[in-house]
C-alpha cells in the first residue's frame, strides 16, 4: 500500500507558553519541537500497516519553512521511507489554504491511503485533513480509533461522546487518526542515522488565498484563586454550603 502521512511541526506542549513579540505566535525561546501528537499516531499506524503487509511505502509530507525538515527526518527515523517538504516560510492558519497546497502534492502521488492526525495539537482546528479529502474527491473517515482493511474497503471505529460509530468506505481514502490506535515508536539511533540518508524533497507550496487570519494570541484569563475549605469529612457541610450559596451549582 502506498501511504501518505501529513505531519505538522509543533512545540512541546508541556511548558508554560509566552506570547511572542508579534502577538500572533508563541515565544520560541527554549521551546523544543516535534511531530504533533495525533500526527505521530498516524505515522505509527502507517508504519504498522506497511510492516503487517510486509510491503508498501510510507511518505511523510509537511508544509512549512525549512525547520520542518527536522520533523520530517524524525518521521523517517521512525521508519517512513521518504519525505516531501512543501516550502512556505510564513505561517498559514487558513485550513482551506493549507489543504489546497497539500492536495496539490498528494494528487500526484497515486496513494492508496492518506493519513492525518485528527487535529494539530497547536492550532487545533481539526479541519485540514477533511478538506484535503474533499479537494481530492476522496472519501474520508475522521477521528478513528481503529482501522482495518477488508476487500478494498477501510473499516474503522470513531469515538463519539459516550458512544461510537462503525464506519467504512472504499479505498483509496483519507483517514484522520485519533488516540488509541498506536503508540508512536521511539526511534532507535540506528533509525536516526538511516533517516539522514533517506530522500527528502523540497518543493514550493501552492498555498491558496487566505480568508482566515490569526489576529492575536493571548494567555487565558487566570482563574481567581480558590481555597481549601477544610480537612477530612468534617469539611463536607461547609463545602455543600458554599456550592449552594456562593457558586450556586447545587
Amino acid at each position: 500500500m502506498k501511504i501518505a502521512v501529513c505531519i505538522k511541526r509543533v512545540p512541546d506542549m508541556d511548558v508554560r507558553f509566552k506570547i511572542g513579540a508579534n502577538g500572533t505566535s508563541v515565544d520560541e525561546a527554549g521551546l523544543k519541537f516535534d511531530i504533533s501528537d495525533f500526527d505521530g499516531y498516524a505515522v505509527e499506524a502507517a508504519l504498522q500497516i506497511k510492516e503487517k503487509a510486509n510491503a508498501g511505502e510510507v511518505v511523510v509530507i509537511s508544509l512549512g519553512a525549512d525547520n520542518v525538515q527536522e520533523t520530517l527526518r524524525k518521521a523517517m527515523s521512525m521508519g517512513a521511507d521518504r519525505a516531501v517538504q512543501l516550502k512556505h516560510d510564513a505561517p498559514v492558519f487558513d485550513s482551506f489554504a493549507i489543504a489546497t497546497a497539500l492536495a496539490a502534492e498528494i494528487s500526484t502521488g497515486g496513494y492508496d491511503l492518506v493519513m492525518f492526525g485528527r487535529m494539530s495539537i497547536d492550532t487545533a482546528n481539526q479541519a485540514t485533513g477533511t478538506m484535503v479529502a474533499e479537494l481530492l474527491g476522496l472519501p474520508i473517515l475522521t477521528a478513528i480509533s481503529k482501522l482495518d482493511f477488508d476487500g478494498g474497503k477501510a473499516k474503522a471505529r470513531r469515538e463519539l461522546e459516550g458512544s461510537y460509530e462503525l464506519i467504512e468506505c472504499p479505498l483509496p481514502a483519507v483517514v484522520t487518526i485519533d488516540e488509541g490506535i498506536a503508540r508512536p515508536r521511539y526511534p532507535s539511533l540506528k533509525g536516526i542515522m538511516a533517516a539522514k540518508k533517506k530522500p527528502l524533497e523540497t518543493k514550493p507550496a501552492q498555498v491558496g488565498e487566505q480568508s482566515y487570519t490569526l489576529d492575536k494570541m493571548e494567555l487565558p484569563a487566570e482563574r481567581a484563586a480558590g481555597r481549601i475549605v477544610g480537612e477530612g469529612k468534617d469539611a463536607v457541610p461547609e463545602l455543600v454550603r458554599l456550592l449552594k450559596e456562593e457558586a450556586k451549582v447545587l
Binding site: D14, V15, R16, K32, P187, S188, K190
Partner: protein, 670 residues
C-alpha cells in the same frame, strides 16, 4: 639419562606444548573482541592493584571465612610452584635440585615452606570441600555454575599435595641416610609412619608417587583452560589490566563515538565487547560474591552478575569453536544467553564490581548490552519512553515545565549565572541543583536547606536556573547514549559560556556525571558533593550552627549512596557532617554499609521503571535501616531520599528521613 627421565621429558614437552597451544587459542579468542583503551597506562597504580588485590588478596579477605581459606591456597600455590619447578626439572635432569644454587639457610627456608604450605593447602582444601559438600553456601550455588568443576579441582589439588608428601616421604624411607628431617618435617613425619617399609618397596612407592605427582601436575596445567580454574592463569593479569580500582575514575562508562558510521551500537554479541571483557570472562571463578551482593538478585530478580560473566565465556567459546560462523549468529549473547529482563533489573550500584576479587567489570557488559537494546533496536521497558521523551523535549526526565526550574529559590535572593555575569561578578562556586532538586517537592527542601547553609556561611554562589538541563545520567545508564550526549553537550556549552570552574551539587548522580564523565565530551570542572563541601565549611568554622550538647540523644543511621560511596569513595564526609552538626548523636551503622552498602534501588535508570518481581529493593533497605533501632535515617542523595522515605512509610514506621543538609540547616543559628 634413564628411560624414565627420557619418557618424562617427552611427556613434559608434550604437556607444555599442549598448554601453550591452548593459551594461544585463548589469546585468539580474546582477539575476537574490540580493542580497548590503553591498559598499559599509569603503571604504578596498576602494580599497586596487582600487589594489593592480587598478591595480598585484599578483596578475598572481605569474606572472613572463605578469605583466609583461599589466601592459604593461593599463597601456598605460589610458593609450591617453586617446588614444582624444581620437581619438573628434576624429572628431566636426574637428581636436579635447587640446593646447590642457594645458601644453605635459604634453601632450608625454601624446603620448610614447601612442607608447611602443602599442609596448609591440604587443610584449606579440606575446609573448602567440607563447605561445598555439607554447608550449602548460598553464593556457591546457582543454575549458571558448574558445580562439579570445583569439587574436581579441589580433589585434584589435594591429590597433588598428598602425592608430594608421598614421594618426599617414601624417598626418606628408601634412603634413610639422605633424610633431612629438619628441612621437611612434615614429610619426615609421614615417612616415620611408613618406616616399616623395606627400602626396595619404598623406592617403588616413591616412583609411583613421583609419577603420579608429575602426571597430576601436567594434567592439572592442561585442565585449566577447560575449567573455571583458568582463573589461576587469568586472574593476576586481569587484576593488573583492570580499571575497576583505577587508574582513572571508577564507574565511568565507556565513551562512545556517535559521529562515525556505526555498524553495531553497544554490544549484541561477544565480538562487540572489548577483549578486556572477554578476559574478565576467563578470570571468573564462579565464586558468586558479586551475585550475593547484587540488590536485584538478593530481592528475587533474575539478574546475576556472575551469570553475565559465565555467559560471556560460554558464548565466546561456542562462537570460537563453531566451524561455520554464519549459523552461529542464531544464539547471540544478547537474547541467546542474557535476557532483557536481567539487563533492566540492574541498578548500576557497582556492588558486584566492588566485590569481585579478580577485578572483573560486570557492569560494563550490562551497559554495553543496554546500549545495543536502546540505540540499535529501541527495545526498553515501555514506562521509560516518557522519561526519554521528556529529557529530549524538556531537559528533564519528568514532565515539569522547564520554566519552573529556579522557582524553589523565590524569595531567597540567589543570583543566576546570567545575572551575576551581567553585573560583572563571578561566584566562588556554581550550585548545580539537578532535576530532582528543582522539581521534586521533597528534594526541594534539601535544595533550600543547602542554599541556606551556603548563605549563612557567606559562600558566594550562583545557580543556572532555567539554563540548567538534566545531566543525562538516567539516559546514559539506560543505554541511550545519543540522548545523553545531546544533553551533556548542551550543558557543557552553557557551563563553558560562563567559564564555570567549580561546581557543588547535592545529587551524587550529577556529581559523578559532571565531574567524572563530562570530561569525555570536553567538559572539565571541579565538582564537589555537598557533603564534602559542608564538612569543609564546618571544619573551617564558617557555618553558624548551634551545637546542642544537651537535649534528647537522637540515633541516626546513614544510608550510603552508591554513586557517592562506591563510585567516588565518599563515605566519611556525610558522617562527619552529621557528627559535627549533632555532637550528641548516636550514629549506628547498618550491617551493609560503606562499600558494602545496599543500593536504594533507584540507580541505573530504575527510578523510571516499574519493579514488579520479588521484593522491592528499597523495602529491603528500609527494613535493614529500621532494624538498627535508629529514630532517623540520613541520606545524601535525592533518589535515596525518595526511595527510603517511600519504603519507610510503607513499613508504617515513625522514622524520619533527612538529607544531611537538612540536619545541618536545622541547627543554623536563627
Amino acid at each position: 639419562m634413564s628411560d624414565g627421565h627420557v619418557l618424562f621429558t617427552i611427556i613434559f614437552v608434550c604437556a607444555l606444548g599442549f598448554f601453550a597451544a591452548n593459551i594461544q587459542r585463548l589469546i585468539g579468542e580474546l582477539q575476537l573482541g574490540h580493542t580497548d583503551d590503553s591498559r598499559w597506562n599509569d603503571l604504578p597504580t596498576r602494580f599497586g592493584n596487582f600487589l594489593r588485590i592480587g598478591i595480598f588478596q585484599e578483596k578475598i579477605f572481605r569474606d572472613s571465612i572463605a578469605g583466609p581459606m583461599h589466601a592459604a591456597i593461593f599463597w601456598g600455590f605460589g610458593i609450591l610452584t617453586l617446588g614444582t619447578i624444581e620437581f619438573l626439572i628434576g624429572g628431566v635432569i636426574p637428581g636436579f635440585s635447587f640446593q646447590p644454587f642457594f645458601l644453605a639457610p635459604v634453601y632450608a627456608f625454601f624446603a620448610l615452606n614447601q612442607d608447611v604450605w602443602a599442609a596448609l593447602v591440604i587443610a584449606a582444601v579440606g575446609m573448602a570441600l567440607f563447605r561445598r559438600l555439607t554447608k550449602r553456601v548460598k553464593r556457591l550455588q546457582g543454575a549458571e555454575t558448574h558445580p562439579n568443576d570445583p569439587l574436581l579441582i579441589l580433589s585434584w589439588i589435594a591429590s597433588l599435595m598428598i602425592t608430594m608428601f608421598a614421594y618426599e616421604a617414601f624417598e626418606m624411607v628408601a634412603h634413610p641416610d639422605t633424610m633431612t628431617p629438619m628441612l621437611r618435617p612434615i614429610s619426615f613425619g609421614v615417612a616415620m609412619a611408613f618406616s616399616w617399609m623395606s627400602p626396595s618397596a619404598a623406592t617403588v612407592a616413591h616412583d609411583l608417587a613421583w609419577w603420579a605427582h608429575g602426571l597430576l601436575v601436567l594434567g592439572f596445567l592442561n585442565y585449566l583452560p577447560y575449567s573455571k580454574h583458568l582463573h589461576v592463569v587469568a586472574s593476576l593479569p586481569n587484576v593488573f589490566l583492570s580499571n575497576t580500582s583505577g587508574p582513572g575514575q571508577k564507574g565511568v562508562m565507556k565513551p562512545m563515538d556517535l559521529e562515525g558510521d556505526l555498524e553495531v551500537f553497544g554490544a549484541k554479541d561477544v565480538t562487540d565487547l572489548s577483549w578486556k571483557s572477554l578476559l574478565d570472562g576467563f578470570a571468573c571463578t564462579e565464586c558468586g560474591r558479586c551475585t550475593s551482593v547484587c540488590p536485584a538478585h538478593t530481592t528475587g530478580k533474575l539478574l546475576s552478575p556472575r551469570k553475565i560473566m559465565i555467559n560471556v565465556r560460554e558464548r565466546l567459546e561456542s562462537y570460537a569453536h563453531a566451524a561455520d560462523k554464519s549459523t552461529v549468529a542464531d544464539r547471540t549473547l544478547l537474547d541467546g544467553y542474557i535476557t532483557e529482563e536481567e539487563l533492566w533489573s540492574c541498578t548500576s550500584c557497582g556492588a558486584c564490581v566492588q566485590e569481585c576479587p579478580v577485578s572483573i567489570d560486570q557492569l560494563s557488559v550490562i551497559m554495553e548490552l543496554r546500549r545495543n537494546l536502546v540505540l540499535g533496536e529501541s527495545r526498553f521497558p515501555a514506562e521509560v519512553m516518557p522519561a526519554f521523551e521528556s529529557m529530549e523535549q524538556r531537559g528533564s526526565p519528568w514532565a515539569f515545565d522547564p520554566g519552573d526550574r529556579g522557582k524553589w529559590a523565590e524569595g531567597m535572593n540567589i543570583p543566576t549565572m546570567a545575572e551575576m555575569t551581567e553585573r560583572g561578578e563571578r561566584p566562588e562556586v556554581l550550585y548545580w541543583v539537578g532535576c530532582m532538586g528543582s522539581f521534586d517537592d521533597r528534594a526541594k527542601k534539601t535544595t533550600v536547606a543547602f542554599a541556606q547553609i551556603m548563605q549563612a556561611s557567606g559562600v558566594k554562589f550562583a545557580i543556572l536556573g532555567q539554563e540548567e538541563k538534566c545531566n543525562g545520567d538516567p539516559a546514559r545508564r539506560m543505554g541511550n547514549e545519543y540522548l545523553y550526549q545531546m544533553l551533556a553537550k548542551d550543558n557543557i556549552e552553557t557551563l563553558d559560556k560562563y567559564g564555570v570552574r567549580t561546581i557543588v551539587t547535592a545529587c551524587p548522580h550529577c556529581f559523578h556525571q559532571i565531574g567524572n564523565e563530562f570530561p569525555q565530551l570536553g567538559g572539565n570542572y571541579d565538582v564537589v558533593h555537598h557533603s564534602t563541601f559542608i564538612e569543609s565549611l564546618l571544619e573551617q568554622g564558617r557555618v553558624p550552627i548551634v551545637q546542642e550538647l544537651h537535649g534528647p540523644v537522637r540515633t541516626f543511621t546513614y544510608h550510603d549512596s552508591c554513586y557517592l560511596g562506591r563510585y567516588n569513595d565518599v563515605y566519611d564526609a556525610p558522617r562527619e557532617t552529621l557528627r559535627r552538626a549533632l555532637p550528641v548523636m548516636n550514629l549506628v551503622e547498618m550491617p551493609r554499609s560503606k562499600d558494602k552498602g545496599l543500593c536504594c534501588g533507584a540507580g541505573g535508570g530504575r527510578m523510571f521503571m516499574e519493579e514488579t518481581v520479588g521484593k522491592r529493593i528499597n523495602v529491603e533497605r528500609a527494613e535493614e535501616a529500621l532494624a538498627t533501632g535508629a529514630d532517623a535515617i540520613a541520606v545524601a542523595c535525592p533518589f535515596c531520599m525518595t526511595m527510603m522515605a517511600d519504603s519507610v512509610k510503607s513499613r508504617n514506621a515513625n522514622v524520619e528521613v533527612y538529607d544531611i543538609a537538612e540536619v545541618v540547616a536545622g541547627q543554623l543559628r536563627a
